[in-house]
């Protein structure tokens, strides 16, 4: 029997679980799992296979673009950046991408919360619909938007146009097309995280006096922060690179509705390959830079819990 009242076994003992995984390292090597099987010839062969595949498919072709861009020193970049068609297109692309990403962030978080936290009829259908932009060809998306919002014979187009808002063949249409194709990226990043964290932390916050807005800002948002940032970066990369839907919806008018990807195509066909390579390089650079920044910022293990 333990009846000594002073014996406080709960008291003051150091955490029995050794403090684990404090490092913020970024290495995700094969040794991550701890026990590493001895490497046989098979391991090397598989590794070689993967590297060869990635090299032939991605690394080599992209490096050719970089190489071609800098063939004559900085000449190609200078030519491209002094061409108003290119700079205008880059500007438009950035504006469109930022708008599309902003829209997708707000609606992405909202739809994710709706999908995870609420049960309503048609939830399964909504969840499936969200993947549509990934499976439907962007060209079809462009056509569909034209049919709905075309200025002369679209369903809503004439009405919007008479109200002073031109959608098709203008920036709003381009933003819509871009937002459409990149919609699932934010949602698909956030939903699994929301499902994993559950609702107990939010309930705890409520019982401690936090209202819905405070709970969202102080508890939910910090929990999904990294998933959201990653989703935003993926959307940004996708928005910068959108071609098919934008080509149909924008009308592809140089200096007005021509985005960077459209410029690349046009310059390439007009035998201004130098400018095409340089613009491609810039597009790839922004996307890669965003991914690299996030990879370095993201803690290796940010959801460590129970």
């Amino acid at each position: 029997m333990d009846d000594s009242p002073t014996k406080d076994t709960v008291n003051l003992k150091l955490s029995p679980e050794p403090t684990k995984r404090l490092g913020k390292g970024l290495r995700r090597g094969p040794g991550e799992g701890g026990v590493r099987p001895s490497r046989g010839a098979g391991t090397y062969f598989r590794r070689l296979l993967v590297i060869t595949y990635l090299f032939l498919l991605i690394i080599w072709p992209v490096s050719l673009v970089v190489q071609k861009t800098f063939d004559g020193g900085l000449g190609n970049l200078q030519t491209a950046l002094s061409d108003p068609v290119v700079t205008g297109a880059l500007q438009l692309t950035v504006i469109v991408a930022l708008w599309a990403v902003a829209i997708n962030t707000i609606f992405g978080v909202g739809i994710s919360l709706l999908l995870v936290r609420y049960d309503f009829p048609g939830r399964g259908v909504l969840s499936a619909l969200i993947d549509l932009p990934l499976s439907v060809s962007p060209v079809v998306v462009g056509l569909a938007l034209l049919l709905a919002y075309g200025g002369t014979n679209g369903t809503f187009g004439p009405a919007l146009e008479s109200a002073g808002l031109q959608v098709a063949f203008a920036t709003p249409g381009i933003i819509m097309a871009t937002a459409f194709v990149s919609l699932p990226l934010v949602i698909r990043e956030i939903v699994p995280v929301l499902q994993e964290i559950g609702t107990e932390q939010e309930q705890a916050a409520r019982s401690l006096g936090a209202g819905p807005a405070q709970t969202f800002r102080r508890i939910t948002l910090p929990s999904i922060k990294w998933a959201l940032i990653y989703g935003v970066v993926l959307s940004l990369a996708r928005a910068l690179g959108e071609f098919g839907a934008v080509k149909i919806v924008s009308g592809n008018v140089a200096l007005q509705t021509q985005t960077a990807t459209l410029v690349v195509e046009q310059k390439y066909q007009d035998f201004e390959q130098g400018s095409a390579y340089a613009t491609s390089f810039l597009l790839a650079l922004i996307a890669v830079a965003a991914l690299v920044v996030v990879t370095f910022l993201r803690p290796k293990d940010d959801t460590d819990g129970d």
Binding site: Q201, S207, P222, G305, D306
Partner: protein, 322 residues
């Protein structure tokens, strides 16, 4: 005062979780809601906290009708089975959460957090993240966090259910001592009768959405209102025509006025106690009778498996049930 629960009903679809619950929980006491899993006790606790709504009935906390008050305005401290620690905040920030929501001045928050962390023996962990604490430490942090808002009632939902047996025992002793210090009206849900009997001032046994019995641990253990309460609070066996607890049976090796006679057919030693099974000769009551004796009693009586023994209720033991 305390908590007044009147006519609470709750259905989940066809499933009746709670049926016409009427209960008054006195101020300043530690009350256990005890019952099997799925019996409705957690639902009742969540309704008191406002995390769940009842279909009908009213809840009054310290004289205020809170039936339609949202959870964040009830000033109720809630502790979850799986801690519900805010994973992205340090221990100190977790505890400070409710105070910061209430916009208390910084120095007051700091003072109060220090005080609470001392109370739960976590003062040297204040800058750690929950992931760096053990389960028991996380639950103590959750308790400090709930106490920080000076709640009018403290509700604990299976607070030690996720911990291993040893830590669970330590923590419930500690909870009892803590309650003796802070005296906040506390309700905790458990399916562990030992935990409920050991810690609480009064017990409410809930089964199938209904209250089976309300009373002190002694009342319930000695005077159970139903066979369910009797068997839920501890092991029972049938001696003659009565249900009785196995340790309330007197066992001898010599003939005397006994309720039953039989041979010891099973012998299980668990620590200091020995659990016996005696198969009676009585053709009317052929079912084996469970008897529990301490090891020293068994040695003194020179009991062995296969011995013929006589059984009768121990003197002074009330007959529990027909």
């Amino acid at each position: 005062m305390g908590i007044e629960i009147r006519g609470i009903n709750k259905n989940f679809g066809d499933f009746v979780a709670l049926e016409d619950i009427n209960l008054s929980i006195p101020s300043g006491q530690l009350t256990a809601l005890l019952g099997p899993s799925g019996g409705g006790k957690s639902t009742l606790l969540r309704i008191i906290a406002g995390l769940e709504t009842s279909d009908s009935g009213t809840i009054e906390i310290e004289g205020n009708d809170t039936t339609n008050v949202p959870a964040q305005k009830r000033n109720v401290g809630f502790v979850f089975q799986h801690y519900a620690a805010f994973k992205h905040m340090t221990v100190a920030k977790n505890v400070a959460f409710g105070l910061e929501i209430r916009k208390k001045p910084k120095d007051e928050v700091k003072r109060r957090v220090d005080e609470l962390l001392r109370l739960v023996h976590l003062e040297q962990f204040s800058h750690r993240l929950p992931a760096q604490l053990s389960g028991g430490q996380r639950q103590r942090m959750a308790l400090a966090r709930a106490l920080a808002i000076e709640p009018s009632v403290l509700l604990l939902d299976e607070p030690f259910g996720a911990l291993d047996a040893k830590v669970r025992k330590e923590l419930r002793n500690w909870l009892r001592r803590l309650h003796d210090e802070v005296h906040v009206t506390t309700v905790f849900v458990t399916h562990d009768q030992e935990e409920a009997l050991e810690v609480s001032d009064s017990l409410v046994v809930i089964n199938d959405g209904r209250i089976e019995q309300i009373g002190s641990p002694d009342d319930l253990y000695d005077r159970p209102a139903s066979d369910f309460v009797l068997s839920f609070l501890g092991p029972v066996t049938r001696l003659g025509d009565h249900l009785i607890r196995p340790h309330d049976i007197d066992i001898t090796r010599y003939e005397h006025a006994a309720t039953a006679r039989g041979r010891i057919t099973r012998w299980t030693r668990v620590g200091f106690e020995i659990r016996l099974e005696v198969t009676p000769d009585d053709v009317l009551h052929p079912d084996p009778i469970q008897v529990v004796v301490t090891r020293s009693e068994a040695v003194a009586l020179q009991l062995h498996e296969g011995d013929l023994v006589w059984l009768r209720p121990r003197a002074g033991v009330e007959e529990l049930s027909r």
